[in-house]
Symmetry: C2
Subunit: 253 residues, 2 copies
Amino acid sequence: MKPLIFVTNDDGISAKGIKSLIEVAVEFGDVLVIAPDKPQSGMGHAITMNHPIRLEKSMLYNNCEAFTCSGTPVDCVKIGIYEIMHRKPDLILSGINHGENASSNVLYSGTMSAAVEGAMENIPSIGFSLKDHDSDADFSEAKEFVGQIIKDTLNSDFPSHVCLNVNIPKKSDVKIKGIKICRQAHAFWADRFDKRLDQFGKPYYWLTGEFLNQDMERDTDLFALENGYISVVPTHFDMTAYKAIEQFKKWEI
Amino acid sequence: MKPLIFVTNDDGISAKGIKSLIEVAVEFGDVLVIAPDKPQSGMGHAITMNHPIRLEKSMLYNNCEAFTCSGTPVDCVKIGIYEIMHRKPDLILSGINHGENASSNVLYSGTMSAAVEGAMENIPSIGFSLKDHDSDADFSEAKEFVGQIIKDTLNSDFPSHVCLNVNIPKKSDVKIKGIKICRQAHAFWADRFDKRLDQFGKPYYWLTGEFLNQDMERDTDLFALENGYISVVPTHFDMTAYKAIEQFKKWEI
């Protein structure tokens, strides 16, 4: 029996990135797509609790069944499993995101949060991101490696409650050198707010800023990406800071 | 000089929980509040990228300066640091949430995501949640312990890039037994969608379900809560599954 592969993203169902991912996924199994009906970048692990969720059949792809969802990427995974498939798929793929999601961006990323939700459901799950924000980004080289990683995943004994954060360098004249298994770099945003005045003279703000990496070790996802490799970070959702537990024990009453 | 304490939440600025938290916080320092102008439960680590953010001065509290923000709890932290305070506060407090955020709910929780954002900024940060969803929940007993934990934090050598996930049992006839330092329990939602038809006969869905704990160890936050203790989980944002790295090394190209 062919594997059942669930595909979602955070850029919305009509993005070139999810189209590219579907084109690879259909080579490996039966594909079901549920993707947001609008861009959901930066939605992190948000779920829709205070509004109803809408689901609509989509005719956008003729190689698979597809739906749009009014909710977040995590909503897409939940409604896919519990309302549409009524079973757990064999694999969850999210992306290919237009823009990288390396380092601590895993927390902000809707693409990766869909994969993390898959890990919570104990389904092998992978979030793919290309380091190119262009809506017409070139996914041709990325697709080869996406296929390789899907094949490796389906043929492997995938660890339980883990997903993969895969980031792919932007297509350039230099070929991708290979794949590196990494840890999440310790790097952060230096945020800035662009303050403007509306037509009534009242202020509004756009969140902007730059991403700063002060983690100079060579085992990080950012190091791999900067050196022409695809980064693969095994990712889980246990956020306990185990190393700090002992220090706090003296607070116990 | 008095410490500068930043306060936010995800239930919105007028919730009883944040009012209770502010009442405790002002005993320890100068308080600045920036909280969502509407409920933002379940928003996780979402940030507002595709809409402008609005900030309005609030006159709701006479013991501190306060603003409402149209964005998410994480937006509140970012705009507080980078646009209003122009410095890092000495302490970030989030909550007190109406409802618990133990175990893997840390990922969905706007309350905890604000604290995690504080940890990313390397500011001692604490998310407080009471195991009582009632909008008129009784925070009186919780407030004593919140004060104790704030005092411990200000007097301690707080570890870098860590925050605390504090969950407090619902007020009952039995007094809270004490405080336990715990790890995040390995427990999940069994989701369900409540499907209804709108006035045009078109379906819509409400996300619902129940939380299931199959983690029977005694060192978890859920165990502490169920046994009448306040749970404190030191929490970080490195989601790397270090134990799985070796297994994936054979995928390297």
